[in-house]
Amino acid sequence: MTQAAPVETPRPWLIPPYGLLVVGLSVLVVVLLGTSLAIGYVSLDLTQAIRDVLSGQSTLAALVLIELRVPRALLGGFVGFSLGISGAALQGLMRNPLAEPGIIGISGAAAFGAVSVFYFGLAGALLLALPLGGIAGAAAATFLLYALSGRGAGTMTLILAGVAINSFAGALTSLALNLSPNPYAVTEIVFWLLGSLADRSLPYVWLVLPLMALGWALLIGSGPALDGLTLGEDTAKSLGFDLGRLRFQLIAGAALAVGSAVAVTGAIGFVGLVVPHLLRPLVAHRPGRLLFVSGLGGAALTLAADIAVRALPIRPELKLGVVTAIIGAPFLFSLIYRLREEP
């Protein structure tokens, strides 16, 4: 066969080295975390507050920082990371840029779980009742997904099962609104469903962080198999990957990460759809490498949107889910417009 001389082709200018991309996004996330701590409704001398916390003085500044700002910033980062990485993983599994964490029905079910807590008036009874209800909803949906589609299920069955679970969870949520005992409960439920990071306390963080971290680990571990899936299911299998196990790993991972995220914040749409799509060209379309950077990108976008919510002079405060959807939907329009050009 023709022997061509090895040529070093330069890396296209728009694709940064992977390490640089990770470092750059990490720096961005750290800066946004700092900004998120610094911004809020009461003016706060951040250095003084940190000094107070470190010296154990329970001043008002220390209280605001620990009780309000820190949980809000941490949850923003963790929830965004969960949504971004889950979106990237599910797009890799489905090999479809329009897949997103909601597609397997987990977020809808988690939302319904939390809504039931409101409905039965348990939200005030126990500090962690809301996130626990959400996590229970996500877990129930995961088992139902498996019962419906089975271990050897193909991608199409998985999507159909997800759509069915989503509609059912949506119907039950509507039913809860419909039968709601009083208008106050309806308002509570509707506002919660819009998605927000406001007024979450530190115990929320400690409740969901281990679950999310386990989910992230499962998702990141699936990177090589997702790379292999680029060549189709047969080739991925011929490279030694067990596709049944991969689906289990990804669904369990996404359920843990997204289920916990929705359980504490309500529905925050479009992050899981838009972030992987925006970052994919920067990792040269490698599904495995997209996972971690999408997590970082999701954290950055969620933190930025939550900062915007507080910085904008609009009161009552806009809900985070509303802002991400308003930013995210136009991206989706452009994505669809470009997909239209392809045969």
Partner: protein
């Protein structure tokens, strides 16, 4: 060195039987062509040999062991599989795509080592895709894509290469080059099983042919023994013209034989 031995393979789709009683032994150093009309079960048989599908009856042994005994990872190092059609879901860069062939040799978060880079470089050289390495899969033609995917399969560096219609999208020059490459691969001690529709190239490059038709192996052996007028009329329903160049016989499908499929020759 490993050999693949399939015994008494049957393939059924519901009530329909596609293959029955197929026996096949594949040894390293040989180039075996799987030929037969559309729907005769070539791809299905190849997938069974690659352990991508279980047969409804019969068994496949790899060096005397079952696929489970060999283990998925080890089997992935022993058998490289080139799928039909050339599906690539994301427009990755060519070199990164070829590097996917090294996945069975790597730990989860390990980068490419010297052996990986060497295998990738040799595979790119062999498949004549070195000049394409910096492009993305969105910037290559159909023929280039097939050669890149062939390089991906070669990069596995496996003793067995199973290729499903690797020359279907190629121009005549690259058809010849790929067939030459597959034969060289076999000469270097690997086993190559290739599904083909081009009878002339099958006759010229393969050591042995298996003609699948009518639910099983119609005939098996050296190309001259398999590609007789009677077998071709019976399997494909075509007449061929034959000739000779440089002492090598060749044949060309010429017209429908008028013998209906399934009738005796």
């Amino acid at each position: 060195m490993m050999e693949i031995e399939a015994t008494n393979i049957a393939v059924r789709f519901g009530p329909t039987t596609l293959l029955e009683g197929v026996d096949l032994v594949m040894r390293p150093g040989e180039m075996l062509g799987l030929i037969g009309p559309n729907g005769s079960g070539k791809t299905t048989l190849l997938r069974i040999l690659a352990n991508l599908r279980a047969p409804e009856a019969g068994r496949v042994r790899y060096g005397g062991r079952t696929a489970a005994e060999v283990g998925a990872r080890e089997l992935a190092r022993q058998i490289a599989y080139l799928a039909q059609g050339g599906t690539v879901h994301w427009p990755m860069r060519v070199e990164a795509l070829i590097a996917l062939g090294r996945l069975p040799h790597r730990r989860t978060f390990q980068g490419l080592d010297a052996a990986d880079r060497d295998a990738i470089a040799r595979a790119m050289m062999a498949a004549d895709v070195v000049s394409l390495r910096g492009r993305t899969m969105g910037q290559v033609s159909g023929g280039e894509r097939m050669r890149i995917l062939l390089a991906r399969a070669l990069a596995v560096d496996a003793p067995m290469l199973l290729a499903d219609e690797p020359i279907a999208a190629l121009d005549p020059l690259h058809q010849l080059q790929v067939m030459e490459l597959l034969r060289t691969t076999a000469r270097h001690g690997r086993g190559v099983i290739v599904v083909l529709h081009d009878l002339a190239l099958a006759a010229r490059f393969c050591d042995r042919l298996i003609l699948l038709a009518q639910g099983g192996i119609l005939v098996e052996g050296a190309p001259a023994r398999v590609l007789t007028d009677a077998h071709l009329a019976r399997a494909y329903g075509v007449e061929v013209v034959r000739g000779e160049r440089d002492g090598i016989p060749f044949l060309l499908p010429w017209k429908p034989s008028g013998t209906s499929q399934g009738a005796p020759p």
